[in-house]
Symmetry: C2
Subunit: 357 residues, 2 copies
Amino acid sequence: MGVSTGLDDGNAGEALSSYLRTQATAFLRGLGLRGDDEDTADALLRGSARRIAGVLHTYGVLTDPAWAEPMRTELGWLGATLGREPQYAVRLGRLLDALRRLSVLAPAEEALTAAAAPLPQGADGGAGAEPAGGARRSAGAAVAARGTVPAQSSGPLAVGAARAAALLERQLTLARTRAHSATLQAMGSARFHALADSIALLASEVPLTARAAEPADQVLPPLAGQAHTRLADAAGTLPLRRAGHPYNAEAVQAALGADLTADLQDAPWHQVRILLRLSRYAAEVPGAGGHGDPRLAEAALVLQRHHEAAESAAAVAAAARTPRIAPATAYALGVLHADQRHEVEAARFAFSRLWQS
Amino acid sequence: MGVSTGLDDGNAGEALSSYLRTQATAFLRGLGLRGDDEDTADALLRGSARRIAGVLHTYGVLTDPAWAEPMRTELGWLGATLGREPQYAVRLGRLLDALRRLSVLAPAEEALTAAAAPLPQGADGGAGAEPAGGARRSAGAAVAARGTVPAQSSGPLAVGAARAAALLERQLTLARTRAHSATLQAMGSARFHALADSIALLASEVPLTARAAEPADQVLPPLAGQAHTRLADAAGTLPLRRAGHPYNAEAVQAALGADLTADLQDAPWHQVRILLRLSRYAAEVPGAGGHGDPRLAEAALVLQRHHEAAESAAAVAAAARTPRIAPATAYALGVLHADQRHEVEAARFAFSRLWQS
């Protein structure tokens, strides 16, 4: 496979290079933004890193593998590093929302609760079960105080919801802080600077193969088609018929099983999520014949939801392993875990309906 | 309203009396069976007591209220008394089945677990959290030993499933034993003997009103129709549109809210279940124009499932309030509670689809 850099208008290499240039520009814009708006900057960096890695994979025959493969490895590292902090933030938000939803008062109860004398606090005898945790503890307490996790409404079990919120807030905030430090460290590393230099070069020069000189409309659509076929094949192995039957209770089987049960169940769905992303990025390259099926974008959101719910359920199970938690806290975490596994099941149902339509 | 005992062939009173005679015969057969097969006997007694009370309600204008109303009160007492023991048995069976389902091993895990060295036991430090409980404790332990609640598979959290099973088995077996004693006591009481005498009289003579002398085909269908209208009206007030949307997560809102949340949510569904039963019994009377819509029988089963799941969830919440349970036990109970509330939601979904079809 010879390397060619001479491009004709309308050939596959030009189309791919043009796409990579766009992504490289986004990446560099993200870098420049970091001082002002870290979240937006990181989203840009992450999005372009994923897209570059994705199309280098799908259109692998068009680029020099000795250049592309190490590049993809480094992009994978960066994407994973940058992805962690927002994942923890999303996870915490999802779990606190779920706890609020699971603790809502019926309207008549709100009136009763408002009218009632203060109920005994700490009735589950769990004082000291969780470390006090200073400022982070007070964040969870504030959630309870706002009445969104109404600890005062029904004694020990509802107290557990507020404590579970505080515990998750503490653990996931700590994880998020660590991920933030890891990101800062990564961004200051020689490894990152080398990668940024390689990406900057994408704006000027992509090492292409001879195949890249062939017409875009002959080369790109079959390669994008292969990506879509890989997606369709993987989706075809999913238990879609079962998932399309509501309340099949399959995803929740994992709730009291070993963690491995969930992992084995979820992995094929996560795989489809990644193949779906690759297929969508492949279709973004000009001339790839991307027909922009709106179902793919919707399916991607549904599988994203599946992934977040599965990861959130795992975080709840991890929190439940915290030593010396109060039984009421553990109970609330159990309810929350099952709830998130049902969200997993709901996402499978939605994907099943969407994919088979 | 004069009382008439003179019946013409084909009049409403004769039709009702004939139905009541059939039920009285079933009741007396149940009484005779009690020495041999208590479960079958009690099911017969309960079924006929409910049916007699039901038709005396629906066809109230045909019988002397001074006789029918105290009779219905006594039948209600007997039905409730006899119903308790089987309810606890069904509840325990449902919850142990659910715990097994929630703890299943994926096939690959079974192999791993079989190959693995024994994992540490009691890692959650919960020794002594539940009283030992003698023989009943060993029943729960046997469930675990059979591998249906595989405590050995993933450390503290799965240990909780076996402990939750043992705790529920202990509590519900105790409740069942008490209900059994209460039944025996009731069956030996003067109150029961007076009721049995009244029922025996149904085989020979029902105190009817003048209205009962009118033709059955003119009197019974409108009364049965009224029972069906009451059912349809009550079903019409249910949130069927929302319930028909799968994974709406409404029923599980109650999981961490006050008990009242569940009660307020569930009560209208339970009410429809009772009206459905009354409507079905009314249609059983010959000449009532019962068209035997198979959807009604199916809907009754679905609402029965709704009721059992709701009561089971409440029993789990009660078990979670047991003092000094281990966190792993509380966690498993939380998962189980949410699971049963999802069963409630699944039953609402099924009813919604059925009723709107």
